[in-house]
């Protein structure tokens, strides 16, 4: 088989984290009982009119700015018409002719590449159909209707699943840093549809593409891309052609299945939404929103490298999620040592996350914990081993490090009287080892140190213990 190239573009739907819906004041809470959060507007009752939630517009503009896009100065909504039972009005209020943002880009690191943004538009979400296998009936939950969505459409700039996943991960971090979305794929607050085509390597024309839906995790995205590219290429190599169609990813069987052909796809009959006025967005509006934009992950990364002198790799990891970078900044500030803070997070803390399969957004540990632990370590109050135990406890049970150390007797002993007594006992019990040492068998020092450490049940401050032992042995030599 000859070489082929995969060309991918994304349509990313992001649920915006506003308290109320896009066109009414119903709450957007996820997981409420069916149809608990509906009113005449989001349920599409006769006589009800949409009224735009200004927060949605602000969040959309923030995102456009964060992606270096152009904010449309006279933006408008359009009606996208189709019949489906989860769509109470019979149309979705979306944006086709004057979307809120156009252009922009995001850089991904591995491989280094710029992904261009085609456009961003606001729209209302639809409800959910729940198929009851037992009765064969379909039930409808309209609570999600009117939850604000921002759709981010990229140019077809991706060439591999890895690029797509890198982009999605970075986009998620950015949107979470902006505070505009939770980006939880499992809850559907981040949904990516994949437009994919393949062509012979070196060709410049695009092949026929398919659109893939129902991708509920980054892993599923990657798998689906690999599967679909391979499927298309096999069809083409066998002399077949690709149908322009929408396909559904079956996560269990790990195959993509045809949902509907483009020919019999609905004609959406878009036209301008007459119920909502044109949105006139001034320079002042944009400047105001720009001034409240938080520091973005890329800006943070550069600051970590240039001002905190962290290696680029560390800076990349530390800015990969807003929770991690917040923990890092707090820790670095408390212990006054960014490198040490970074080492602990990159090492021990990441290991705990991995071992417990915890996502950064689900971390419940107090942000101050790690800083406190590093300080205890630096002050010699706990050993490195105990510090690790303290971090485990702080992470798993939310333990306060000093209290936990007290309760579990983890304090390190550095009192010279206690340590001296322990050493004297060891030397008394091990005259042979002592004798050999004095005759020049220097490696017996390690043995004696180990015995002394054991005598303190491992709680001795190793530095103090070692120097005290040295001086005691020196005393013997002098005798």
């Amino acid at each position: 088989m000859c070489e082929y190239e995969t060309v991918i573009g994304l349509e990313v739907h992001v649920e915006l984290k506003t308290r109320s819906k896009i066109f009414c004041s119903c709450p957007t809470t996820f997981g409420a009982p069916p149809n608990a959060h509906i009113c005449e507007v989001c349920a599409g009752l006769p006589g009800a009119l949409p009224r735009l939630n200004k927060k949605v517009l602000d969040y959309a503009i923030m995102t456009v700015l964060a992606l270096d896009g152009e904010v449309t100065r006279q933006s408008r909504f359009d009606r996208k018409n189709y019949f489906y039972p989860d769509l109470p009005k019979g149309y979705q209020i979306s944006q086709l002719y004057a979307p809120i943002g156009t252009g922009g880009f995001m850089e991904i690191e591995e491989p280094q590449k710029r992904i261009r943004i085609h456009e961003l538009h606001m729209e209302d979400d639809a409800g959910k159909l729940i198929h009851d296998e037992g009765s064969g009936m379909t039930k409808i939950d309209y609570s999600r209707c009117g939850v604000p969505l921002l759709e981010i459409v990229t140019e077809p700039d991706f060439r591999s699943a890895d690029e797509v996943v890198a982009f999605l991960e970075k986009l998620r971090t950015m949107l979470k840093s902006l505070g505009v979305s939770d980006c939880k794929m499992q809850e559907g607050s981040l949904r990516a549809d994949v437009n994919l085509s393949v062509r012979k390597a070196g060709d410049t024309e695009l092949g026929t593409r398919t659109e893939m839906k129902n991708l509920s995790s980054f892993r599923a995205v990657a798998k689906a891309i690999r599967y679909e590219a391979n499927r298309q290429w096999k069809v083409l190599c066998a002399g077949g052609s690709i149908d322009r169609e929408t396909r559904r990813w079956d996560e269990e069987k790990e195959v993509s299945l045809s949902m509907r052909k483009k020919e019999d796809a609905t004609e959406y009959r878009y036209f301008p939404e007459p119920d909502l006025p044109v949105l006139f967005i001034s320079d002042e509006n944009i400047d105001e929103i720009r001034s409240i934009l938080p520091e973005l992950p890329d800006q943070k990364r550069i600051r970590y490298i240039e001002q905190m002198h962290l290696p680029p790799y560390d800076a990349g990891i530390l800015t990969s999620s807003p929770e991690i970078s917040a923990l890092f900044e707090k820790t670095a500030e408390m212990c006054g040592d960014p490198k040490e803070a970074s080492n602990w997070i990159m090492g021990e803390f990441m290991k705990i996350l991995n071992d417990t399969s915890t996502l950064p957004e689900n971390i419940s540990m107090r942000q101050e914990s790690l800083g406190e632990i590093i300080l205890l370590l630096k002050e010699g109050k706990v050993s490195r081993a105990s510090a690790k135990t303290l971090l485990q406890a702080a992470f798993a049970e939310g333990a306060v490090p000093s209290e936990y150390a007290e309760a579990h007797d983890l304090w390190q002993i550095s009192d010279p009287d206690i340590l001296g007594k322990a050493i004297d006992e060891v030397l008394e019990k091990n005259p042979k080892a002592l004798g050999e040492f004095l005759e020049g068998k220097t490696k017996n020092f390690q043995f004696l140190l180990g015995q002394a450490m054991r005598a303190t049940s491992g709680k001795a401050d190793p530095t103090s213990l070692s120097s005290l032992l040295s001086s005691k042995l020196e005393d013997f030599r002098q005798k």
Binding site: E40, A43, G44, L45, P46, G47, A48, L49, P50, R51, L52, R79, N81, F83, P85, P88, K89, G90, Y91, I140, E267, R269, Y270, F271, P272, P274, D275, L276, P277
Partner: protein, 489 residues
Amino acid sequence: MTREEILKLSAYELSQKIREQKVSSFDAVSAVFKNIDEHESNVHAYLSFWKEEALQKAKECDEIVASTPDVSGLPPLFGVPVAVKDNLLLSGKKATCGSRMLSDYIAPFTATCVEKLLSAGAIVIGKTNMDEFGMGSSTEHSYFGATLHPMDPTRVPGGSSGGSAAAVSYGGAFAALGTDTGGSIRQPASFCGLVGLRPTYGSVSRHGLVAFSSSMDVAGPITRGTRDAAWLFNNVTGADPKDQTSAGVPKVELSEMESYSVSGKRIGIPKELLSDGNISGQLQKAADFFTSHGALVEVFDMPVLEYAVAIYYILSSAEATANLARYDGVRFGYRAGGAPEISELYTKTRTEGFGREVKRRILLGNYVLSTEHFNDCYRQAERARKLVCRAFSEAFSKYDFLICPTSSDVAPLLGTIDQDPLSTYIADLCTVPASLAGIPAVSVPFGKQMSRDGSCELPWGLQILGPRCGEQEILGAARFVERGGEDRV
């Protein structure tokens, strides 16, 4: 006062008499229901009314008046019985919109304009008949049967607010609210010898008005006189956070209306709105009337109005297509039986639930929005609509107001309208321009004209159009016409 004397009062006069305790609200409501009892079986102006409830409310009003030392604090329409078109929601009451689709639909909330009437003290006594979802100009397109002309049962009262016009005409209400998309307030008012005001688009909230064409729908009064029209308008207008296309406009000063004179006014007549380009009949008399009172009247060209009917039908049908998509049998309203699959449910429900005219508009709307025709139909109409707006702006830089007939005809015979939809649509030529431009227009009775079949003379309405927020001007002019000129001192 006797029942006849009470019924002769305007809504405004009645409100004064009620607070002066010269007429009780109870007697006024009783008088209205006596008329309803007498005429409703012939006219069929109402789709629903609630006599006992209305009388009870009237009693309460009278008690409050009797026990209030300072009646000036009472709301303006206190105790006045009014009717409301069936596409305006009143919580807990049916809102059928003249459609089988909503034949059992109970409104769960109240329209802002109706709420405003209620808080102004009015007693809403019933909901009036209409062409299904406002689509039609005869009130024959109601699933519940046609409304007949109160003066001649062989004729239509106009539409789509034909029920409101008929009810006010026979004394079944002191005033009514209608809605106007392409002329649905003005044309029935004209046919029934009443005043009908289409206010500036957005000056009356559309919240609770069941949408037909969102960019043109507006609610407004149908009354026996101009003063009532202005008074009702003042009481329903206002910006509403529930309708982002609404905006506050100046209220009409009733005293200024009384002192208004056309002397020195410049009045334009768009040539394109005249049949064969000439002024004749009642319009000629109206022009002469204004001239004789010192106004300058001239015919001028507004070429873009040739396309007004086409623009109107393209845009209103496109919007209607989407606005009516929610009637699918899934959540509320009519649901067809025997349709196990969802697509079948949609098709059967909408086939059985909608009438001919509604289906015609849905088809038209889908046609103009289809990929194939979007650019040459919808887009062109959208552009042309902007030209209409610009042409009106230019016209109002030259003229204080414009006049034209409200309709090319007086009330036609039943059953004659639907025979040729195209010529019916063309009959809307004089009313749709104001709808496209969002400007206010009022129809005021101006004598009678011989019916087309030559059998009798029927009321003729003069339409007066003003710039956006020009209600004061056009109602002043309408009042001047109503008074028959300057008061002789």
